[in-house]
Structure formats: C-alpha cells, structure tokens
C-alpha cells in the first residue's frame, strides 16, 4: 500500500507553499478583490509561469515539464490554500487538460507550448443562463465553422484569449476552440460572488472556431474534462478548507470570552472537530481521485465525483464555520474569512454544482449495481 504522495511531490508542495506565502499573501489577493479594474494578479501569473507550474503536466515535447497529474494536485492544493487570484484552473485544469485529452496533433502543437509559456489564458464557456445547461437548453450554434451565441458566466472570460465553447452543429453538441482576440468575440465583465476570480459574458457573432474532438461528443467530452478538473479543484478545496480550520483554530486560541479562550468551550471545540472530520474525508476522496486521474483509471468518473462532492462540502462548511468562530469580526471586510467563503462558492459552482455531481455519481453507482 502506497496511498500517498512521494517525497519529491511533498517537496514540491512545500516549495509551492513557501513560494505562495511570499508571492501571494492575502494582501495581494485583496488588491484583486478591491480594485474593480484588476481582474487577476498579473505579476503572480507571470511568476507562476516562471516556476513552470503552467506546464507541469504538459509533456516535454510540448515544452512542458512532463510531470504527472500528482504534481499538479499538490500545486492545486497550495493555490487553493492561498486563494490565488489567477486563471490557473481555467487554463491548466480545463483548457490544457482538454487539449491533451482530445486535441488534434495540430491543436496540441499550437496550444500546449503557449500554455506552458504563459501566453495563453483559457476559459471554459458552457453555461448560458440560470440552471443546468443540457442538450435541450443549449442555444449556441456553429455553422460553417462560425460560432454564434452568448455564454455566461464564463470564468476568466474577460482575460482569456482562448475559450472552449459548448455549442451545437447540425443539432449535435460539440466543443469548439474560439480565439477571443478576434473581434467577432466580445466580452463584458460580470459582478460575481468571488471578485478574485472574475467572470464575463461572452458574445460570439460569426466567430471562427475549430472543433475539439468528435462531432456530437460535446457532452461526453465535457464530462471527461470536468472529471479531470474536478479532481484538481478538489485539491484547491482541500487547501482552502484546511486554511479555514487553521484560521478558526488560531482565533479560538487567542479570543477570550467569559474569562477564558473560546477554544476551551465545547461548542467551539466540537465545531472545529467537525471541520477536521470533513476536511479529512475530502482529502481521502481527493487522493483517490488523484490516483484515478494519474493512472487514467476506469474508476475516474466515480472517484472524481466523490472528490468533488466531498471537497465542495468540506470547503463550504469550513469557510462558513470559520466566520462563525470569529464572530462579528469575521463578518467584516477587513478580515480574510470572506475570501474563503467567496472562493468556496466559486469552486463549488465552476464545474457544476454538487447537486449535479451527486446525480452523476448515483447514476453510475446504479449502473454498476445493475451490472453486478
């Protein structure tokens, strides 16, 4: 049994933490939060690129570092812990993974080296309005290689130069790569719950696009991409949730009420114990997801669903109970508690809400049970 990260991977994680503590203190996160004009931390994005993280899992033949997905997992955890205000997930977990999964040789050769070099910011354009986007609600269309439609919200859509867009061609759903620097694509920034990770409305008018993968396979491919992203997002959620527990714990040990530290009251102790339990369940599920992702195991869809559900629950619970532990001061703009509360919402929704993943998980368990 070797269900753990290797010493090298733990070393990388440790280095990533030190790097982000220096380069991404919450004062830097707050600059993106407070300044409307600032959509992400460009300096941090550049620095992360120089670390090689953008191409960590990209093969060396495409100028990546050629490491595995496990290395990406430990980086993700640290980014989540730091509430990093950069389009890492959109570019690396979604776009790069999608290209490596289903891209043509030409698409790989064009995009992967540019992603690794930090020249590309990606965006995943699926949602078109309230509720779940399905084959029957999907409006965006492609005809003769031209895309028309409106997508919102598109995380990082206002800063991305390449979008992966879900649209129908001859009634068949597919995924299409769009160049957002082309004037046929216009974008408008949206106000979101988590201003440290911006989103936009993208409008395509006869935008030239190239299909990724097979025609008609849009939703199947999207599920596969989401599975990969879900595992990596789960590590961000674990990192964030653990940070919330640390914040709550350290406040509970310094804050006095009724003559003693609040961390000595069982109401607080049990709350923090509950956070710990959820965080460990999330971590164990994320590890299994990491194993499935790294080995491209047939268990990946079930493992990714479990990792996403547990990660979403843990980060939500930890972020809200961290505020509660802080009391009134936790509700102020100046305290960092709300950075996590906001990010927990962003991470829970960006690849589909937990409800959707629970349904997906149970459908798969049903199939497995019926086959047994």
């Amino acid at each position: 049994m070797n269900f753990d990260f290797s010493d090298d991977q733990k070393f990388l994680k440790n280095e990533a933490r030190k790097f982000l503590e220096a380069q991404c203190p919450t004062s830097r996160v707050r600059k993106v939060l407070d300044e409307d004009a600032k959509s992400y931390d460009e300096d941090l994005w550049k620095a992360v690129g120089e670390q090689g993280w953008l191409g960590a899992a990209i093969p060396e033949e495409y100028n990546g570092l050629g490491l595995g997905r496990l290395e990406l997992c430990v980086i993700a955890e640290e980014l989540g812990r730091a509430v990093a205000p950069i389009p890492f997930a959109s570019t690396v977990y979604f776009l790069a993974e999608a290209i490596m999964l289903a891209g043509s040789e030409e698409q790989k050769a064009y995009l992967l080296p540019r992603i690794a070099a930090g020249e590309v910011i990606g965006a995943m354009a699926v949602s078109e309005g309230p509720g779940v986007t399905t084959a029957s609600t999907l409006q965006a269309t492609v005809e003769g290689g031209k895309l028309n439609g409106v997508k919102l919200p598109v995380t990082d859509g206002d800063i991305a130069n390449v979008a992966l867009v879900l649209a129908k061609e001859n009634g068949k759903p597919g995924l299409y790569l769009a160049d957002l620097t082309d004037p046929s694509a216009t974008c408008e920034a949206l106000k979101t719950l988590d201003p440290t990770r911006d989103a936009a409305r993208l409008t395509f008018k006869d935008a030239p696009v190239r299909r990724l993968g097979e025609a008609g396979q849009g939703f199947e491919l999207l599920e596969q991409i989401n599975d990969r992203a879900a595992v990596l997002l789960a590590f961000e959620q674990c990192g964030g949730a653990d940070r919330c527990l640390e914040m709550a714990k350290s406040y509970a040990l310094e804050r006095y009420a009724f003559g003693r530290v609040i961390g000595s009251y069982q109401a607080i102790k049990h709350k923090l114990a509950d956070i710990y339990v959820k965080n460990e369940l999330a971590r164990s599920n994320a590890y299994y997801g990491a194993w499935a992702l790294n080995t491209d195991a047939p268990e990946l869809p079930v493992a990714a669903s479990a990792a996403r559900i547990a990660g979403s629950e843990a980060y939500w619970f930890a972020s809200k109970e961290n505020i509660q532990t802080h009391g009134g001061i936790g509700f102020t703009w100046e305290m960092d508690c709300h950075l996590h509360y906001r990010r927990s919402r962003q991470l829970s929704l960006v690849a589909g809400a937990p409800r959707v993943w629970k349904e997906r998980l149970v459908s798969q368990l049903e199939r497995r049970n019926a086959a047994a």
């Binding site: 049994m1 460990e280 599920n285 080995t295 479990a306 559900i309 547990a310």
Partner: protein, 411 residues
C-alpha cells in the same frame, strides 16, 4: 501513489493466503450474510484462535517469546484483510488481547505474565475489561467501586461495587478492574488496578437487556471479592496511569460501525416502489443522501488506506485515523432510518422473514444508538479530536483538585 503491496507485503500476503486456504473454514458461497452472522459459538471461536496461535497469527505484532510473530502492524492488517474473506467464527478475544493482556504484560511480574499470556493468546482463557460504572461511562476516573485492605493484615484487598457495559463478562475467565482505593485523594490520584478471577464467588455477572433486544454486555457486581496484593497492576493509587495504557488501544479495538451500508440501501431502493409507482431509487431526495453516504464511506475507506500507507512505511499513522467512528456510527443510524422510511408503512415490520435483507436495516437502526456511545461517545470523540489533534484546551475541571469523597455526585 498506488495500492500495491511492497514485495515483502506481497510475499507475506501470499503466505497468509496459503495458510488460510489450508486451515480456515471454506470461503462463503453465494449470498453474503448482510448481518455478518458468522459466529458458531464459543467453542468454534476458541478452536480457530488456537489454530491461529499455533501458526503465530493470533498476535502477529507481539514478540515471538510471547507467542507472537514479531511482525509489524501492516502484516496484522494484511492478515485481517485476508481473514475477512472467510466465514471465521466471532472473535471474543479482541478486548483481552488488545487491551487487558497488554496491560498485564506492562505491569505484572514475570510469573504472572508466564501464567496468563500463553493461555490468552491460544484462546483458552478469555479476558474482559471492567472500567465503566453506572455513575460514569465517559468519566472513567469517577469509578466508585471500592478496594480496601483486608483488616486481617494479610495485605489482601476486598473489592465491593458494580461495573457495567462489560463486554463478554459472561464467558470471561479473568478481568482487569479499576477500583477506588483512596477517596480522600483527588479522583485521578486514588485509583488502583487489579486483575481478578471472574469465576470467583464474589463476582456476579448479569446480562444487560439492550434496547436492541440483544445482550452483548453485562453488569458485574463485586461482593467482598478478595484479591491478593500480587494481583495489583501498577502501584497503589496509580491506577489511572495504568488505565491509560489499557485505553490507548480501545479505539483500535472498537473500530468502526458496520451494519447495512450504502450498497444495501441502493439495492433495496431499486426494488422498493417509490412515489409514483417507479422504484424508490428515482426519488431525488434519496439519491442525494445516497451520494453523501457513498462519499463518506469512500472517504473512510481511503482514510484507512492512508493509515495503512503510514504503517507500511514504518511511520506512526496521523490523527486522521480517529475520524472513523464519528462518521460511521451516525451514518449507520441515518442510513438505516432512511431505508426504513423508504418502505413507508411497511417499514415498521421487524420480522426477518418479511423485512427486506432479512431485517438488516431494522437491526441496524436499533443497534446504532449503542454504536454512537460505545468506545467513546460522539461527543467524547469530538473532544479528543479538538484536544489531541487540534491542540485546543481541555475542559475546565471542577473535580480536579477536590478529594473524591467530596465531589458532588447527583443521582
């Protein structure tokens, strides 16, 4: 990251498999028993234990000189995994070998150790642990059972009082008992541990009729039970420290709650009519619950894998191993109740010949409250995580520096 054995582990697993194939009862055919009722009575348990002991598998991690194999914890885990594939009889030796006998081995003299360790490991003698009392379950240091020096100057002790929730007392040969020896000292400083002969006429064992209907536990009454001073484990009034050695292993010995889990629920939900004639599994509310239970169960499974990994590397497992019972006992209760409610009016039937899965959910429902209490209540386990894992302060103790006899006792 993988789930593979190291070459040494694989070789050990192979050796265990071969031994089990040659010595264990035949593997179960067909339907697994949902309640895991594999106990064929005490005689079968003792016979199986003797076989394991002869081959060194009874206490793998114990030194060879005491009948063990001198093995490591991962080998113990591997044996447990492989053994669980066979319908082996129940294991009434766990408390003795996991908690009592290690305490005896730590605190008793050579002769006592030689007398007891061998018969215990071979399953010839069974031990029980006598700690909880009617006045204190979580608060073990509140023990009121008295041990006083015999007035005849022999140095013997006379024990009077009552213990409760003693697992296996009805078939135990020996036990370790914590007693109050100095009521004038604060509670933690006036207790002493002894080993006792459960067959002594001064010991009376009465089964407790549990709310689940079963009687796995007992009340044990001591009436002028006379024990030699040589039966004392540790120093006089130092019993609390001795008990910590015993309890160190309790959470490992109690383990997680079992009972019918998510896959039994899924199976049942596919076969039970739901709201509009379709199967109950189509009910979105049930689907969401099922997803949550699956994710929790998987989380615990992979937490165990993380623990095993630490053992495999020769490291001490991290505190994550402490979360098991908090999750599994509550889930057992909630899942059982949802399964019963899914049956609608029919759910009230508790007849194995009529209820789905031979009444497994009803049985789970009725034993779950005990799981949330045994071996550390939900609340005590949260305290343990908060204090030992997270480093939060212990509770303010109003009883710490007060003589035991002056403590308020209530009812």
């Amino acid at each position: 990251m993988d789930f593979k054995d190291t070459p040494e582990e694989a070789a050990y697993r192979q050796q265990v498999r071969e031994w089990l194939a040659a010595n264990a009862p035949k593997k179960r055919e067909g339907e697994p028993d949902p309640l895991g009722e594999s106990s064929d009575g005490l005689a079968a348990s003792k016979a199986w234990q003797a076989k394991k002991a002869a081959a060194g598998y009874a206490c793998i991690t114990w030194p060879k000189e005491w009948g063990g194999q001198g093995g490591n914890p991962i080998q113990q885990v591997i044996f447990g995994q492989e053994e669980s594939a066979y319908p082996t009889p129940g294991n009434p030796f766990q408390i003795g070998l996991g908690m009592c006998v290690p305490t005896v081995m730590t605190f008793a003299d050579e002769d006592t150790k030689k007398r007891f360790v061998g018969p215990a490991i071979r399953g010839e003698e069974i031990w029980c642990q006598l700690f909880s009392e009617p006045s204190g379950g979580s608060d073990v240091a509140g023990a009121r059972t008295r041990a006083e020096r015999a007035p005849d100057g022999s140095g013997d002790w006379i024990i009077n009082g009552q213990k409760v929730w003693t697992t296996g007392a009805q078939f135990s040969d020996f036990g370790i008992v914590i007693c109050r020896t100095n009521p004038d000292a604060p509670k933690h400083k006036g207790m002493t541990m002894f080993w006792i002969d459960m067959k002594d006429p001064g010991v009376e064992v009465r089964p407790i009729h549990q709310m689940s209907g079963g009687s796995g536990f007992n009340e044990v009454f001591f009436t002028d039970l006379r024990v030699k001073d040589s039966q004392r484990l540790g120093a006089v009034d130092d019993g609390w420290r001795v008990s910590l050695v015993t309890l160190m292993n309790e959470r490992l010995a109690v383990g997680g709650a079992s009972g019918a889990g998510w896959s039994a629920f899924l199976e049942s939900a596919r076969q039970t009519p739901g709201l509009d004639g379709g199967a109950a599994i189509k009910d979105q509310a049930l689907r969401e619950k099922l997803a949550d239970w699956y994710v929790q169960a998987e989380g615990l499974k992979h937490t165990r894998n993380r623990t095993m990994t630490a053992l495999s590397k020769g490291e001490t497992p991290g505190p994550e191993s402490s979360i098991g019972k908090i999750i599994s006992a509550v889930q057992m209760q909630e899942l059982a109740n949802s399964a019963v409610e899914m049956l609608d009016q029919y759910g009230i039937i508790n007849d194995p010949s009529l209820a789905p899965l031979r009444g497994a959910f009803q049985a789970s429902l009725m034993s779950a409250p005990g799981m949330r209490i045994a071996g550390g209540t939900d609340e005590i386990l949260r305290n343990i995580i908060a204090e030992r894992v997270l480093g939060l302060p212990g509770d303010i103790r109003v009883d710490k520096d007060v003589a035991f006899k002056d403590l308020p006792t209530g009812r």
